[in-house]
């Protein structure tokens, strides 16, 4: 048991954490490369930065949007995210592990706050699951993983809370810790490869959309050429309306 815990918080954690960091870096870099490529291929280089950044910020800190539509859902999901980010990163116990492994750590949140946040995450996670299961449109668009994720995210929080508050734990500390570590590792390693990747990609979304709406010139013709539809009108040879000037302009263009 102890050996498994050691393994889970040692090599396995390093593997999962490195995969997460590198994987997230990878998708961000790939997205940025794609963006730059698309940007260079487009003729239109005008980007409305103000608009894009404004939208991004308004979603990263969705205070104004909270009360607009589906306020309960918005509030629950907001709290869920807060707890999800703060607790693993700033819990004192985790920071000690950091200090031990990489030699430095950062400030911690008080244990009582961490406890409350943990409870909030557990409650919000279950609520989100129920909302997904009970709300019609949500059920219609959910895949299997969408149901699994909120529950999976709750597991390390639940077991972590039980480790800290041993009285409510149904099993021994060791077992709880084992589940805590392994579920945490599982989540960590899956982050860059599943929809949780939105944690780093969301800030890029608006820019992606902004650049995506600008199309490369002449792509349509190439698509037709690639598909090889011989009988397809390519819109290239167009008879013009019989005004003299039009034809002359066209002729000039053709000569060029």
């Amino acid at each position: 048991m102890h050996a498994w815990i050691e393994f889970g918080s040692g090599p396995l954690f390093r593997l999962c954490f490195a995969l997460m960091l590198l994987g997230l870096a990878r998708i961000v870099v790939l997205t940025i490369i794609g963006m730059v490529e698309a940007y260079l291929r487009n003729d239109d280089k005008i980007i409305n930065w103000r608009e894009l950044i404004g939208k991004t910020v308004s979603w990263l800190f969705p205070i104004a949007k909270l009360l607009k539509k589906r306020p309960v859902y918005s509030l629950v999901s907001f709290l869920f995210h807060i707890g999800l980010i703060l607790t693993p990163l700033f819990l004192a116990a985790h920071l000690l592990l950091w200090e031990k492994s990489i030699g430095f750590a950062w400030f911690a949140i008080p244990q009582s706050l961490a406890d409350y946040l943990t409870l909030i995450v557990i409650v919000c996670g279950l609520t989100l699951f129920l909302m997904r299961a009970l709300y019609g449109p949500a059920r219609a668009i959910s895949r299997k993983q969408d149901y699994i994720w909120p529950l999976l995210l709750v597991i390390p929080f639940l077991t972590g809370y039980m480790c800290v508050n041993g009285r409510i734990s149904p099993a021994t500390y060791q077992w709880m810790m084992l589940i805590h570590i392994f579920s945490g590792n599982l989540i960590t390693v899956m982050i860059p490869f599943t929809k949780i990747a939105h944690c780093v990609l969301t800030p890029l979304s608006q820019l992606v959309t902004g650049i995506g709406w600008k199309f490369p010139r002449g792509a349509g013709d190439k698509v037709i050429e690639t598909l090889g539809y011989k009988d397809r009108p390519t819109w290239v040879e167009q008879p013009r309306l019989g005004l003299e000037k039009v034809t002359t302009v066209e002729k000039e263009a053709a000569e060029k």
Binding site: P11, L12, R14, L15, L19, S101, F107, A108, L227
Partner: protein
């Protein structure tokens, strides 16, 4: 092109692994990732990356000489890949050196601080100059593609002959100087290898290696890209190489005879076996095989020869570079996996750049073309999984980066945390044997210590709960720190109290006044004592008092523990000798009755605990 893509994927994975190790190397220092030690300061990185790297790149000067000096134009088609191989080989040497050097950012010092007596200085300069020459020699190839470079290209093409001559001269110098490096170590290098003519043997073997490397590279890339292999040309190279190898064999054996060292060959040491193995694969097998015509004319035969020859000469460089040195004492050097990974990663990087150049520019007569790169081609869905991952560059980007990060993550997982700092450190024997029968207490691991009958002491002090009489607390939050974590030196006191940690928000989170009283000068003496807070740290029965912030030195701690007790016990036992030094320090360990410790010593040795050999005069 699938073969190329899979090969590149493997290369990227190796680089990923290397990136993880490289991070550790620069974060934690050389000791963390290498098995190098004060006794073995040069290891695989010098022996392979630098010494063999330089030798492997010698194909460049051999072939430029063949084509531009001896004007054998039929070899023209393989001179470009040879120059590129040489160029990348030298860049790989430089990169490998950056890992090996303790202070890689000072590598340019060689340019301003001149020591004309040092062969390494000369090697360094020649490598730098030759690298420049190679860059200039290769520059026209990529420049073909860019029209605006045509003027420089024309100028360099005119300058080719002087460049080639300078390149050959520089190569001659540093290929041989790699041998001169070891002339200064007559008492280190095994006499079967050490010879005043090492510069000459190094140079000759470099020529042979250059030819073999060109053969290998040509055959391998031919297989990779399904190109037509230039076997007829390589056959001629092989025919030339056999004489080189024969000459090398003759010189090595002749040298031994002249220096009257043949007697060593009859010895049974492993070095002798190594010598024979090396000589067989470096010279005898290739020479014999190359004299057979059928072998020379088949790609498989040539490949066999190339692989044996290359392996042999690389082995020779590694041997001379550190493996067969005889002043190693008891320290045996085997490269750590991390060292091997870095070496492979440097090679993989060079190979990737080679493939990139070959695909991008006209390195070979026929440039390989990727059929999928055609802009108007209809995308082909994979027949099995009916997927299409995109244009070749997108596929490359997606797959290689995935391979890279997975390999890097595995690398980080394999790099274990604690041994990174303490490679080469054995667990303190006293700790290792805790609870055992007989301890060998040896604080500084120098092999000289005190025999301690653990069970007897335990029994005498009342067994049961008596452990705490001697064994004191561990570090807070620590499970099994060795003694040296506090008593970090044999003779000097060490800091046991981590002030930073106690005041840091992640640690004790203590404000100053919680330990230091107000109005009193803040000093060690006026502060709270450890056990005022850590009252459960030491059970009440313990004989140790925690007052000091400085741990005493290891020797003092041991003495304190023992002498106190022995002094007390001297009276009731009516044994005045009990507190005397000689009671414990019965002389050195060979004086201790071997039979007493025999079983324990074997156990300890099994647990990686190094016990020095018994010195006998």
């Amino acid at each position: 092109m699938n073969r190329v893509r899979n090969f590149k994927l493997i290369l990227w994975m190796i680089i990923g692994l290397g990136a993880a190790v490289a991070t550790a190397r620069f974060m934690f220092g050389l000791g963390a990732v290498t098995n190098l030690s004060d006794r073995v300061p040069w290891g695989l990185w010098i022996g392979f990356d630098v010494m063999s790297g330089v030798a492997l790149a010698s194909g460049g000067f051999v072939l430029t000489a063949t084509v531009y000096i001896f004007k054998l134009d039929r070899f023209h088609s393989i001179v470009r890949p040879a120059i590129l191989t040489a160029l990348l080989g030298y860049i790989a040497v430089a990169v490998g050196l950056l890992f090996d050097l303790g202070l890689p950012w000072n590598i340019w010092h060689m340019m301003i601080y001149w020591n004309l007596h040092s062969p390494l200085f000369e090697v360094g300069w020649c490598v730098m100059l030759y690298l420049t020459v190679l860059l200039l020699e290769f520059f026209p190839v990529p420049a073909e593609k860019y029209g605006f470079l045509s003027k420089i290209r024309g100028f360099l093409t005119k300058l080719r002959l002087p460049l080639v001559i300078a390149g050959i001269a520089l190569s001659t110098l540093h290929q041989s100087s790699l041998g001169s490096l070891f002339l200064i170590m007559p008492y280190n290098v095994h006499p079967l290898w050490y010879s005043p003519i090492m510069p000459v043997t190094f140079f000759i073997s470099a020529i042979g290696l250059g030819l073999m490397m060109v053969t290998f590279e040509s055959l391998f890339t031919g297989w990779l890209y399904r190109r037509e292999q230039e076997v007829d040309l390589l056959e001629r190279l092989g025919a030339a190489a056999r004489w080189v190898f024969l000459l090398y064999l003759a010189i090595r054996l002749g040298d031994l005879a002249v220096r009257d060292q043949l007697g060593h060959l009859s010895g049974g040491e492993w070095q002798v076996k190594m010598f024979w193995f090396e000589l067989v694969i470096v010279a005898i097998i290739p020479t014999v095989l190359l004299f057979i015509r059928a072998v020379r004319r088949s790609a498989a035969g040539l490949m066999t020869v190339a692989i044996t020859g290359v392996t042999g000469i690389v082995l020779n460089r590694i041997n001379v570079g550190g493996l067969v040195h005889i002043n190693r004492g008891e320290t045996l050097y085997l490269p750590a996996w991390t060292e091997i990974v870095i070496t492979l990663a440097v090679i993989a990087g060079a190979a990737l750049v080679f493939l990139f150049m070959a695909e991008r520019f006209k390195v070979w007569e026929i440039q390989p073309v990727d059929p999928d790169a055609d802009p108007i081609k209809m995308p082909e869905f994979h027949p099995v999984d009916s997927s299409w991952l995109g244009k070749p560059e997108i596929v490359a980007r997606t797959k290689y980066s995935l391979g890279f990060i997975i390999a890097a993550a595995v690398g980080f997982a394999l790099l274990s945390g604690e041994p990174l700092e303490s490679r080469g450190v054995d667990p303190v024997p006293a700790q290792q044997a805790r609870g055992g029968d007989t301890l060998w207490i040896d604080g500084n691991l120098d092999g000289y210590g005190v025999e301690f009958l653990h069970v007897r002491h335990w029994y005498r002090s009342g067994s049961g709960e008596s452990c705490v009489e001697c064994h004191h607390m561990n570090l807070p939050l620590d499970r099994n720190s060795g003694c040296y974590h506090c008593h970090s030196d044999m003779y000097l006191p060490a800091d046991a109290f981590r002030h930073d940690w106690h005041s840091s928000p992640t640690g004790g989170k203590l404000a100053c006044h919680e330990c230091h009283q107000k109005g009193v000068v803040r000093a060690v003496e006026s502060a709270k004592k450890c056990d005022e807070c850590h009252n459960d740290l030491i059970p009440s029965e313990a004989s140790i008092e925690v007052e000091q912030y400085m741990a005493v030195s290891y020797a003092d701690a041991m003495h304190h523990l023992c002498i106190d007790c022995h002094t007390k016990e001297a009276v009731p036992r009516e044994n005045p000798d009990l507190p005397r030094c000689t009671t414990c320090h019965k002389g050195q360990r060979d004086i201790i009755d071997a039979t007493v410790l025999d079983s324990d010593r074997r156990n300890l040795t099994g647990k990686r605990t190094l016990l020095p050999p018994i010195h006998q005069e």
